[in-house]
Every structure is written in structure tokens, then in C-alpha cells.
Symmetry: C2
């Protein structure tokens, strides 16, 4: 069994600052963790997570969601194969940013795409 350590650092969102209230979910195997929700187009989550991994053949799914009153909208997602994550005996390994696949997301003032960069998966 391996222990996967992930630090969710911050994001950079394309769009006006007052339009975003975002959180990040991490999913691996049948487990999920969710950060707090942060306002603005440069959200700083700075939260650490750990997962017990039995199967290195799977992946870590990272999603960035914009919290709404009626529903939450997916802004971006990335799939990181667990085999690609470095193994280490101590933390931290250093900062590594991941570029998320963007989704078109709807707001009251129209449609616009968002792209996001962030994350620091450590193992």
C-alpha cells in the first residue's frame, strides 16, 4: 500500500474576480476530499490531503468547481496517472503545477471558457 500526499495550493482563473467562488475535489479509487471554498480569480486553498492507495494503475482526478446558489459548475479537470507521481521518503518534493482541461461554464452574463493552473501532488 502507498500513501499519496497531495497539497492543493492555489488557482488562476480566467475571468472577473467577483464571478468565482471555487473549491477543489480530489478523487482517487472510491475516495474523495474537498477543499474549502475561496472567492476570487486567484483562489488560495493551501490544504493538504492523504490517501491510501492499493492500485497504482489508477489515477487521481482533480476537479475545480464554482459554487453557486442552485448548483455548482465544473470549471476544469485533470487526470493524473498515479504511476507518474514521484515517490519520496519525505515531504515536500517541491512545487509542480498542473494545467487543467478547461470546460465552458455558464454565468449570468454569458458563456466563457476557464482555464486553471495549480497543484502540487507529492508522493
Amino acid at each position: 500500500m502507498s500513501l499519496l500526499c497531495v497539497k492543493v495550493k492555489r488557482g488562476k482563473l480566467h475571468g472577473p474576480s467577483d464571478k468565482f467562488n471555487t473549491y477543489v475535489t480530489l478523487k482517487v479509487q472510491n475516495l474523495r476530499s474537498t477543499t474549502v471554498t475561496r472567492r476570487g480569480n486567484e483562489p488560495s486553498w493551501e490544504q493538504d490531503y492523504m490517501f491510501e492507495i492499493n492500485d497504482l494503475g489508477k489515477g487521481l482526478v482533480v476537479e475545480v468547481w464554482d459554487k453557486g446558489l442552485i448548483w455548482d459548475a465544473l470549471l476544469g479537470t485533470v487526470w493524473i496517472p498515479l504511476r507518474n507521481i514521484e515517490h519520496a521518503t519525505e515531504l515536500p518534493l517541491g512545487r509542480r503545477y498542473r494545467s487543467l482541461k478547461s470546460h465552458t461554464t455558464r454565468f449570468k452574463n454569458g458563456y466563457f471558457p476557464s482555464t486553471i493552473q495549480f497543484l502540487n501532488p507529492l508522493a
Copy 2:
């Protein structure tokens, strides 16, 4: 455009009551809504949701999660094709339960499978 209305009613979980603290997520297109978290093996969520649907070729993904201190564990999931959901001009259509595909989920006292029944998708 169609308006999808969903009422998340309650669940029945296989396992001891004090082991569960569950919530439901509904995902359709790039949107998501999440219920409150309820304790026990017969959780009653009783919450209503609405989604604007542009593409009836997709599906509604329902997931039941058990909230944990470190991570949340997926208990069950079901995919409901939007084309299979009845259209109506008024609510409610009546109660329809869906059986969720179960997942093996881990607890401190070992492994056990959970199955869940619930839900009332109205359209």
C-alpha cells in the same frame, strides 16, 4: 431547453447505523448539487434540485458518499439516462426508487459492501 427536477428523498444503507454519515451528489452535464449530510443507515435528505438541460442524450449521475474525517468514501452510484425520465407539466410525478450500484467501502472495522435504494427523479 428542459428543466430537470430531482427530489432526493432518503436512503437505506446496509450496515450499522453509527457507521454512516452520508450525503448525495447529483451531476448532470457540467453541473453538480450536493445534499446536506445525514447520520445513520436510514438517512432522510428530502431536498429538491433543478437543472437546466441542453442535451437529452446525457445522463444524471447520482452518488452517495460517506463523509469521513480524512476523506469521503463512495458507497454507491447510479447513472440515469435523461431520455428515460418522464416529462410532466406539474410536480410531483410520484415516487420512484432507484437501486444504486454498490461499492465496497472501507471502515475501521473492516470491509463491507453497501447497497442503497432511493430517489425520485421528476421531470
